[in-house]
Symmetry: C2
Subunit: 449 residues, 2 copies
């Protein structure tokens, strides 16, 4: 406001100034220009406030609801309710439970030392003839796989876990192998990739009738439904794992073998190996320190905590004389087949070869190392991984559907098409196309694959 | 601005006014009050604009990125890539492929009429002794289940499909039953709940060694891991389904039986029943019209297209004399157990009873009718369904983990705890706790459940 001159009498009387008049006018009437200016300012602020309000509302309740759409809000509610219950299930941790890590001085053990497992097991088998150690004249085998008990971080992960177990169910049904799908953490210290160790031990001791425990990762798929593991080849061995002697003993490479798919004989030696393998596993300082040792000693290994694969390589290299006489490093077929070099060749394989070979011509197992569909971040582009996994799944599924007269329209297609008409003599096709039966004419049987 | 008086000479000369001075001052100096006011206005607008900018940016690139975090944008990219490849896989339909529905004049057939299946199958079994019709002195059984080939609309759906098949794998391993998990649409006309018909037929004809085909929905879980189907009770029957004669024949109720879990003997009669059952199934006008017939004739049935369950009820009611002599309506145990009345009683069951009963005291199967975790909209609140399914799964899992010395911390918890210490004599527990073996002392074996 202006300066108000003194009114009335006094020594310094001056004429009333316009300022005074202006002040009075401000009280009674605002000059038009300023009125417009003020209105304009207010309008600007009003518009801005309204805009802010819309943005905030949009973020909270959704544009769809502003325009009256209800299906997207219902679906959203389903998702919210789902997330709420999943969060509740996940957060069941005891508030008093503190994560305690073993330190490097502590000794970790998978369990009390068992020293006479071979003898005990043999006696048990003799006294329990109703649980033979062979199935269809083959040593009894138990395939073990699994995944964490909670939903995957990436929703598509659960879908591919489902397809992966279906794939394993198919192979195991055809070949008379039992399956254990583990979704429990048996040992708090040995979590993550190490979880297979306490699991294998527990299963060996609980299933004495089983001759071979076959661990297989959830991201490994069977792609040769005909091929069978040549178990007789391993009569003198107790651990069969895909690997390369040169990479192991000449190069000390951290990928000299792969623990995504391997066989453990159910025997004392295996229990002892598990005991020797486990010490690098307990999470926390032990695993971290062990990781440094492994990185320092294994060629190409990045710096990260100890993983079971590197630890096994290190153990077998450093204690070669103690263990290697019973370890078979298999690479004549793909007990583990690294996916990147295989998935683009499926059409070529169908064209040139047939199931039953198990090697680079028709891989036994295609293993999606590094894809991690269950987690948030894999080592490869998501699209590349998912489309490749879909192709591998369908490539295998075609071999199963063949008995039923179907195949997938394309390797990337979930849809199937008929390749044989229905008949009033279905048993002729059973004899011809069931994998479990010796082929009548090898070419005919496999022609449609 | 003020009014500027004329300067200099002229008739209306007046003293220069303060206004003029003010104007000049405005050009050269704004009165302090108005300066503050103007500044304040500008400040308000600046703040609002800044706020709007932040909101818009937040909506586009995420707060995390504003603060330097990259993980949320990476995760978002993973989701986008995932959705893109899934859309590509889903959209593999042939653009030239037009959905053609059979009309009500057309005749639908599951396949060419087979008339001598019993004889053909018998000859085959005699000539294929390596594929016996019994397993462990029990008729050979094949459990059939499945789900669509595409990811679930609700992401959590795939996780519960995974848990459901793990549950079935456990039961079937313990009881020597093979599993087929179907993810293919064998017949375009009979899609949805009708898909089990062509699937059952195809499996019967492809697996002559199988005596019983057991269809089980993906939303049905085994909750009694000890109970076995008393197959000898059904020696004179070919279809075993959970149902109530009173509801069927006195009330014509549309829920008189449940096709979520039933057994079909592999025989000519079953092929004939499938042929008689299928005609209401082809989607389109046939299924719609059939739905009206069913709603008109079955008590309590809402108006919707024909479903396989209602169609079977209608068939058995209207052709009672033709079929019912070979149909066993079982309700002495829960071959199908409606979940809502069971899931809240699990703790009470654990307290009072033990596995092996299979009935309301310890239900054989808990069936989550109406929950539809794979779809977007079930008939019950999502949280109620998911938490109940989690409880049922863990209730069953406890019975499996018992052999290994573990149980879940609570029925809603994925975490497990040890209930028996490791021992150097593991085979003692095997004898005591393995479900497959007769209990040493019934109370001890089941105590920890």
């Amino acid at each position: 406001m202006g300066h108000e001159k003194k009114r009335g009498g006094g020594t310094n009387q001056t004429l009333p100034t316009t300022t005074t008049t202006t002040t009075t006018a401000r009280r009674t009437s605002i000059p038009r220009g300023r009125q417009i200016s003020k209105t304009f300012n207010n309008l600007k602020i009003t518009i801005l406030c309204g805009f802010v309000t819309i943005l905030v509302l949009r973020g909270t309740i959704g544009v769809g609801n502003l325009t009256g759409g209800s299906s997207s809000s219902e679906a959203k509610k389903v998702i919210e309710d789902t997330n709420r219950i999943i969060a509740e299930i996940r957060s069941d941790s005891d508030p008093n439970e503190i994560e305690v890590y073993l330190n490097t001085n502590d000794t970790y053990s998978l369990g009390p030392k068992i020293k006479n497992w071979n003898e005990e097991r043999e006696i048990w088998l003799q006294t329990h003839p109703q649980f033979p150690r062979t199935v269809n004249n083959k040593p009894r085998m138990l395939l073990v796989t699994g995944s964490p008990p909670n939903p995957c971080d990436n929703p598509i992960g659960d879908h591919y876990l489902l397809k992966s177990i279906k794939n394993k169910i198919d192979y195991c049904r055809i070949h008379g192998i039992e399956i254990v799908y583990n979704m429990a953490h048996l040992d708090r210290e040995l979590a993550g990739y190490w979880a297979k160790l306490p699991l294998i031990r527990r299963l060996m001791l609980s299933h004495p009738e089983v001759e071979w425990i076959w661990w297989m990762d959830s991201d490994a798929l069977f792609t040769d439904m005909v091929f069978e593991i040549p178990v007789r080849k391993y009569d003198g061995f107790n651990l069969v794992v895909h690997g390369y002697p040169d990479l192991m003993f000449n190069q000390n490479s951290w990928i000299a073998l792969n623990t995504g798919s391997f066989l453990f004989r159910n025997c004392q030696w295996s229990l002892d190996l598990l005991d020797a393998w486990a010490p690098m596993g307990p999470k926390g300082p032990i695993r971290d320190e062990a990781g440094k040792v492994l990185t320092a000693n294994l060629k190409g290994r990045p710096a990260f905590e100890a993983d079971d694969q590197s630890a096994l390589i290190y153990l077998l290299i450093s204690k070669k004389d103690e263990w290697m006489d019973k370890v078979f490093l298999e690479n004549s077929y793909y007990l583990h087949g690294y996916w990147a070099g295989l998935v683009d060749r499926y059409e070529e394989m169908i064209d040139k070869y047939h199931p039953g070979l198990g090697d680079e011509r028709w891989p036994f197992v295609t293993h999606f190392v590094g894809c991690k569909p269950c987690g948030s971040y894999g080592d490869y582009p998501v699209e590349r991984c998912l489309s490749s996994m879909e192709r591998a799944f369908n490539f295998a599924d075609n071999q199963v559907l063949n008995l039923y007269g179907f195949r997938h329209k394309a390797l990337l297609s979930p849809k199937i098409k008929r390749i044989r008409n229905e008949t009033v003599k279905p048993l002729e096709y059973v004899d011809q196309f069931d994998i479990r039966r010796p082929p009548v004419q090898k070419d005919d049987k496999l022609h449609n694959l």
